[in-house]
Assembly symmetry: C2
Homo-oligomer: 131 residues x 2
DNA sequence: GTGTTTGCAAACAATTTGCAGAATT
DNA sequence: AATTCTGCAAATTGTTTGCAAACAC
């Protein structure tokens, strides 16, 4: 299963590299269409899955039912706003020790952890106080 | 929006209370059908959502695309097997301090955290070594 | 030329919803 | 009697897949 070059895939990677908001497949689709007007959503999904599989990007499942994608593959924490659904990076240093602790108390093999924080982002806290 | 009693809802709660494997809506449906042969999947979904909303059960989104439900609503860690998809509790004490740290470095409001570990469970590690 | 990738549309899986009738208070 | 809840089926949403043509090597 050799990889062949594809301009669409490049375009998807480039787009993702410019974004820090962890876009969904649909948002990537919209964005890439600027430069590739007739790229199809299926192609976007196929390439995002492929890129995630070979480790060039990261698939984020933050519990809102939609997959988000991150160009930054290093382990780090995310925040998810329950109100607007936005996903942001946290500046908190990643605690890899927790994974080690988990390994020690578990009989199977632990490969990694996924942690995300949820609540109300700064923008939403300010605007929508009175509910 | 007053709650009325419903035997179906009771049955769903009872079923969930007996299980420690964090079943999906579909599994709950199968299980409750033993005692309620013509309960509908829609009713199961509606009640699971309702129970989760009022805090009597917990909805778990562990990244496999399917919602799992947990009768134990106290904060604790989960493990998800990438092979068989099973979800187990971890005996590791929950580190609430991490949430506090996150609060301090974030401008919005953090309400909680969700952490799950992934890898290969004990059963799968033993059986499916040669891939 | 062989094999991968694309666009399109149809298929799929999980979940939600509209509605008329049944159950609860 | 008023209102919530149920069963059913249809609708929605996010994602995957089959296929013939297009592209990359």
């Amino acid at each position: 299963m050799n990889l062949k070059h594809s301009r669409q895939r490049d375009s998807i990677k480039e787009f993702l590299a410019t974004r820090k908001d962890h876009p969904t497949a649909d948002v990537v689709y919209m964005g890439v269409r600027q430069s590739f007007p007739n790229i199809s959503l299926g192609t976007v999904y196929r390439n995002l899955t492929l890129l995630a599989d070979i480790g060039e990007i990261m698939r984020l499942r933050v519990g809102d039912g939609v997959d988000h994608f991150d160009y930054d593959t290093s382990p780090h924490y995310h925040f998810v706003c329950s109100q607007c659904g936005c996903v942001e990076d946290l500046k908190l240093p990643f605690n890899a020790g927790l994974t080690e602790e988990a390994k020690e108390c578990f009989s199977g093999e632990i490969e990694g952890q996924m942690t995300y924080f949820y609540g109300c982002c700064a923008d939403c806290t300010g605007e929508q106080m009175p509910v």
